[in-house]
Symmetry: D2
Subunit: 359 residues, 4 copies
């Protein structure tokens, strides 16, 4: 009966997989019709296998699905991948080869030259990379990636500044939530009442991915943005929400008011602004002196907005500010869903048989 587009979720039992399923539960365009996980889980009902961690019930339409193996074919053109990086590569490639659009949260393909690393408000035009990907790899599907969880919030906050003034240098110290490490992830003995000043590989991801995201598309390739990034990553005893203290050097002296205007006025292209998952505005500026805070500001824009506060001059670079993003929504599953929406809006994926799905 449904006129919604069928989609599948790979790695559906993990924390990001669960978040995909939750976000897709009442999605106006998509419907989860297949869930896949490790072969140990395949063949069993989703609700019998998953250690469900979301604070709402498992969507009834998914609870009873029988888990499938992570191999094509699965119904539908869109496959969301929440697979572990250790195994994701070949599986995702196999799906893309066989015609699926794989929107992946995994780091494996993010830096591939022909894989778009997307924050649609910031770089929707990078979607064109999949033409090259399909041509060069001979695939009928494609792989599209969302950024690393902390990079997603950072790059979105930087996008209007980079567009308006040019980012040249960047210092960022993160305070990241434990959900960013998956489940079981960080041991409670390690983090209760504590700070861990190290997250493996995270600083490199921030430094690398942010330049790709904010890079310019030219002749079918992304020229990374030319800024230097110094990242200091830390884990703090917070459940959800990555905070970051940022200092940024720009192409010219910019006053806090100019920056605030750029942040506040920032909108993605109209085709992105109209997507179901797109927050409006994508960046919320809060002028209260002690904001944003993870527990109070996490869910702005349904977890898709980034909140920026404390925009002020920096004694070394140009500006200082604080940014907060929801690491499992804008920084993972929600970002993936929005990318899939972009695929549909751009006509890359069939809208399905009926008229009622659109809105």
């Amino acid at each position: 009966m449904s006129r919604r587009i069928p989609v599948a979720v790979l790695g559906a039992t993990g924390t990001v997989g669960q978040k995909f399923i939750r976000l897709l539960a009442d999605h106006p365009w998509f419907e989860v019709t297949a869930v896949a996980a490790s072969s140990a889980s395949a063949g069993r009902r989703y609700e019998d296998v998953v250690r469900w961690r979301e604070p709402v019930a498992i969507p009834p339409s998914v609870a009873g699905l029988v888990i499938q193996k992570c191999a094509p074919p699965l119904p539908g053109q869109i496959v969301f991948s929440a697979l572990d990086a250790e195994i994701a590569g070949p599986i995702e490639q196999e799906f893309a080869r066989s015609g699926s659009y794989v929107v992946t949260n995994t780091r494996t393909h993010r830096m591939d030259a022909d894989v778009p690393l997307l924050i649609p408000e910031a770089n929707a035009e990078h979607l064109a990379l999949i033409d090259r990907q399909q041509k060069e790899r001979g695939w009928t599907g494609a792989i599209l990636a969302n950024p690393n969880c902390s990079t997603a919030a950072l790059a979105l906050a930087l996008a209007p500044l980079h567009r308006a003034f040019g980012v040249e240098r960047l210092f960022v110290a993160t305070m990241q939530a434990v959900s960013g490490a998956g489940y079981p992830g960080v041991a409670s003995l390690d983090i209760i009442g504590n700070v861990i000043p190290h997250i493996g590989g995270e600083e490199e991801k921030i430094e690398r991915e942010s330049r790709k995201i904010l890079g310019a598309l030219s002749n079918g390739a992304v020229q990374p943005a030319h800024f230097a990034v110094s990242a200091h990553t830390n884990r703090v005893p917070v459940v959800d929400g990555h905070m970051m203290a940022v200092s940024v050097g720009l192409g010219r002296r910019v006053s806090p008011d100019e920056a605030l205007a750029a942040l506040r006025d920032f909108r993605g292209p109209p085709s992105v602004a109209g997507l179901p998952s797109s927050p409006n505005p994508p960046i919320e500026v809060d002028s209260r002196p002690d904001r944003p805070q993870p527990r109070l500001d996490l869910d702005r824009g349904g977890g898709m907005a980034v909140t920026v506060g404390r925009v002020r001059p920096c004694p070394i670079l140009d500006l200082r500010f604080v940014a907060l993003g929801h690491n499992t929504v804008r920084g993972a599953a929600g970002q993936g869903v929005q990318i899939a929406e972009l695929l549909v809006a751009e006509g890359r994926v069939d809208r399905g048989p009926g008229p009622e799905r659109g809105q």
Copy 2:
């Protein structure tokens, strides 16, 4: 019977006051013989008034002391002040005028040109400022200050780098414990599972005090060090221990190994290294990739050592690292006690009648 030097504690019932009393409980040189607090508490026994927060019992020798008003005379030449900044100024001045050496944790006088702001390993020579202070103010006593809690750890970690290479620019993002805000301080509703990206006045203190501490004494005045500081301060749900992510620009290119050697080899002047509260070494370098951490490394050197880790190149400035200090020991009461020890070691305060106290 005691041959120890009598000392008094002002603001003895607050959290820093309690820490003074705990640290002085078994001190080889000092003995708390007077406690003073607000007039509401004066006249009552210490143990009947204090809401004792230390995880050991109230020292029996202090428990039964009758609380006095915060006004001279109090027995002994040394007075530790843990008063609120709102009221500290006139009280501390009155004690100094009447002959006491007031070692204060309060911010009020820290930036006075004739008040030494001391981390003895880093700037013991600033003690000479009190000659000028006594002369110009006509006091027989003096006021000496310990730095702000986060500045203390930062400036100690910077001291060897500044001495060896010259600090020119500095980014620091702090993750500070709730004990830094006193009691009741930060509401649990605000901080459980949360981060607050703002601590009133803290960024200014870091930027200002670190330059004074690392400044050079010349003609009886401190010339502040000439480096620019960009501080981002945050409160995290940690009980004790201020963490900080630091990037530093130096007078020349310095390799991590050079910096590590400078940090590891750093010692205060011999007169400081021998003080009862001086840790040896003052800076502990930990090479494990995820250290320091507040819960595991807080008590190094009895809470007086600063732990530095993750020394690595910085893509923007020269070096990046993480530092941790115990905010109520090195960053408050312990620092005060060490300053008082310096006064004794330098002969500024009489050692008392007998031979047994020294060691």
Copy 3:
């Protein structure tokens, strides 16, 4: 233009007052048209005074309201009181005398013989006490109270057991969230990584209020239920959600399956079940061995459902179980709103001019 019933909130700037305002923001029947607070705040705009702690924005219709003093007249027949117990009594009485129905979260009048202490699913018939209250006190309005935050969850969980089997003895150990203490409430220094085994007055409230709530109405008076209660109350580092471990002795031997059936099948009277704030079902039974948990199960039924788990035999009394309730929704503001809804449904308060409000 609105056809909704105008209501006022007393103590509107505190945490419970904020929760009232949030819950009433999109209420189908009610509209906040007046906010009142201390005279220090009166005359200023709500959004300029409140330290807003809810993770959503202040409802625009309330943000601009000018705060009034806590004295009649205020528009509307229904007044929600989130006043401090120290001052609530005379103010609430004055409103009731002048014709308002005061639904109070304050403890002051809870145990008054003519004040109904309401959990509508459990004791809607106690509403009749206000007839006596109005007659004896000569008031045209009335005072109605919601229970203490931990009692609300406990008594609702007990209601079906008491109805079916008769509760005779009760052991309850609570693990209560910090939001139960208001703002600033519990100091973070006291509770991070800690448990405080004492909440002033709470054990007495649980023991006293639960008997009144589950008592029988007879001749215009509530005969308290005849069970003995042993309460052990504890504060834990949780933001929202009161957990409780319960052992209960019943009028006869009852198997866990019988108890589960009673809990699952429990419904309030039809007039209550249809109220906008009434969860369906009021008690959710979770059979997973490690549930309920505050963070995962707090918001069931919009925060109005109580979740019960681990129903099993007790070696001493008859049954053991775990219960969880949202302390600021079912245990405070949400309970108050539901009581006001009951007033409307029972025809005690005019529904207002138009037909569109009801539904």
Copy 4:
């Protein structure tokens, strides 16, 4: 050169193994001369393998030890076992058969009829069970067990009440620290800002072990104490320290003052009181209304004392109180060390060659 008794630690790299090593570091009688762990670690240096979690440095004398396999022979007559229960049984038996006194923290043998389950202050006489154990099993060594972590604190707190008045019924609701689950143990995603009302097998252990510990030795067998126990176990976001709310029914009506006197006056037998690890007194009574608390009272008696507070009448049974014990000291490694001390003091283990070790 050392005259201390050589001891070995099995499972030396886990959290309890680490605690053994820390507690034994400066022990007056014992010296760790061998560490054993899984075959994957065997052959490597201890400091290169262990993920050291204690907030002090690895004892230098242990850091360089080469890890051995968990099989005899290991030097010394005393072997501390911190092995996982899944593998402990045969290994511990093999050591006991070959002449070692195995003091185990593992649950495997605790309820064996011929294995003493020891809290020396409460039941040192149960040590005699090893005569039967050696005779019946034909072993020259023996297995001795310390109780489960929460049971240890509970049974010690109950011991004086049981001795003086006879415990007949017992409610206990625990709030247990995450360190009780080992490492990595509880996922931070599960417990930050949360409570988990279930710890697998813990309630059964409390109910079973407490009766054995407080049972009477008669004809070479322990007759379990005849009281009924209803346990409710919960995990809370605390690092160390198990709290418990207790109601107890006694053989006769007992006033709080009588109970307090029994608790305060309780001492183990003189041979136990003189052991290096024995706290004096074993039970500390705190009369402040909000004590004990894990963070403030955990380390009393070096972590070996149990703190009891809030002794008051119980409306259902006779008395209510709160107890706190250090779960990895009194509830694990510290208890094991004290048991080994008892073995030495009772002459079961040779004191070694020289006179200087004893004191």
